[in-house]
Amino acid sequence: MEVTEKKAVKSIAIIGNPNVGKSSIFNQLTGLHQKIGNYPGMTVDKMLGYFNIGDKSFELIDLPGTYSLYPKSEDEIIAHKVLNGIGLEKPDAVMVVLDACNLERSLLLGTQVMDLGIPMAFVVNMKDLAEKRGLSIQTFALYQELGVPLVMTDARNNHGLEAVRDLLSNDDFAVGKTFCECGFAELLEEVRLKFGFETPYQAFQQLVFAEFDPMLDPEMKNWLEERSQIHDFDSQVQQARETNQRYEHIKSILLKTQSSGSGKPKKLHAALDGIFMHPVWGYVTFLAIMLLIFQAIFAWAEAPMDLIDGAFAALSGWVAETLPPGVLTDLLSEGIITGIGGVVIFIPQIALLFGFLAFLEDTGYFSRVVFLMDRLMRPFGLHGKSIVPLISGMACAIPGIMATRNISNTKERLITILVTPWMSCSARLPVYIILIGLTVPDEAWLGVNLQALALLVMYLIGTLFTLLGAFALKFVLKSKERSFLMTELPIYRMPRWQTVLLTMFNKSKIFVLEAGKVILAISIVLWVLASYGPSGEMEAIEAEQEAMLETVLEEQRYELNNEFASKKLEASYIGILGKAIEPAIRPLGYDWKIGIALLTSFAAREVFVATVATIYSVGGDVEDELTIREKLEKQVHPDTGEKVFTRATGFSLMVFYALAMQCMSTVAVVYRETKSWKWPVLQTIGMTIVAYLGALLTYQIWS
């Protein structure tokens, strides 16, 4: 967009209670023209959408769903800062979405916005439901009472959106009447002048939010606290008083403008809750649904993932062959393209998981799961809402960690983020399969296949450490925040496919754009370390390879190349590092070759298989697990003549991969979600230490 055009864009904020259909309206108006940005110093995403009506351009800011403008979480702090233009650009107008079935409650937020003195309009959504419940609203009377334009919609069914577009294009926004007098005239006037606000209520907000805004100048914070003390302004007491006052006033208005129906949800919903929230059937249904999702992610993600894998391998091969050989071509084909491929490969899993989650959330089922699981999660320092990230972690930790967003308690969210990578994700499978194939006999014991049993044990180890880790972190992390559960259980509705698809698209985009940068950077570093060595050595090996290739027969070249690939890796910086860490990993039963694989597979666990194949000069098709297994089986220590992959070493390696971080994509996502390097670094160190000790113990037991 050009600068001249930008000035003509009107920015409109949209705010409303959770489950009020705010995102429906946002999606209907903006479609795919959405952008996700950041609020400085905050973890909540900034959702922006763009659209035109006639020749007018609009920018829509989707503020987080909230019940009021009182400080509780980042959501409210962001609403406060945007609507008052504190450190952020103030929008030209606000649309407050009200719930037609819950006008009283949604007007609490609505009238708070009125008192901020910003041009606004009400969008009364879900009129279809209100009609079904026999509620009727006299819109004109309500408009007269509030003095703010009012539009009725049923956004799910795309009704009334024309009226919203008219409202926008005619710029019918109006500043509401002052709805609530807050008292403390003298104090509020002082604050108002100090910050250059327009209305006393803005000053009231600033007093209430002062201690919660991390970006507020400490000097200002002190000044506000001092003034509050002088005037005996207790923010808790004042919030309660204000809420009561508003509700009184709202009730008196609604008596005149709304005729009440039953207001109760229908029998069908109660019957559904009778199953979904049942002490027995509730859990059975939940387990069945999760199993189905898990199954689907495994089954449906595999084909596109193979396709992506193949496509990037082909592209990398094509670049290597087509471009003139040299450092740049190598960097492009082996570093950059492989790196990008390593990011893109996760998209099917992320998109599918978020598709399912959006579906479940949109139908209203999700909050029932929170209700069911809360009691089970609490002893481990987790919240009912932690269950979704943890279960997602069994497919892939990345979407799981991205799904921790709706856990409002900071400590519970952080614990969930920190332990989710211990759930056994699908990238561990190739490692387990190779190692189990090497070390566990393919025999039945009491009718159970031992290899399958071993795999199950690995999954159980992951789950056990996730819960133990959470339990330990509960005592380590300190928090003043009180943990509570106060979740609305919305009525069941049919999912909106548009919302589901948009969520899939947006979540994949966030991952690729934000985590992708970090992953790409680490891939390139790893590539450089694996391709270069101290000067001279690499060249010497290459010269030797050239010379040897001249002398041998055509059919022997393949094996010779494999041999030299292994030699080169050994001479590279990463090979030197692998040898350097050998004393440290000896007690775990690993030689320096496995050490190299540990280092390279920090990019992603499945890289272990490829590296092991190269370093033991297995070569050939990495996908061919049988060849790798057969060759690894024959490996012996050159000095002792013992087998390299004994049972003890194999088990020790499996335990290491179960417990170590070994996934830079997860590191990148944890960084994105916590907005600091502190947690991903501590997490990686902690997990590596636990993995080391676990592997050490395993090796000592089995050897």
Partner: protein, 73 residues
Amino acid sequence: MTAAGLKINQIYEIERITTSPLMVRMMEMGVMPGKSISLLQKAPFKGPMAFLIEGNILALRIEEAELIQIKVA
């Protein structure tokens, strides 16, 4: 009596909310004196309780339910 002591499908009325940091949060979600309240479901092992409060269903832990003082409607 508090909402934590409700039996399934008894209909009571909210009398007041005990003063606590959660009071404002409850009020803004529509938990207000004068509203009718009934218990719909209880999660096992003293887990959360789901209340119907004037047409809206709200899940609360027992600790939160204990803050809601109720009386016979």
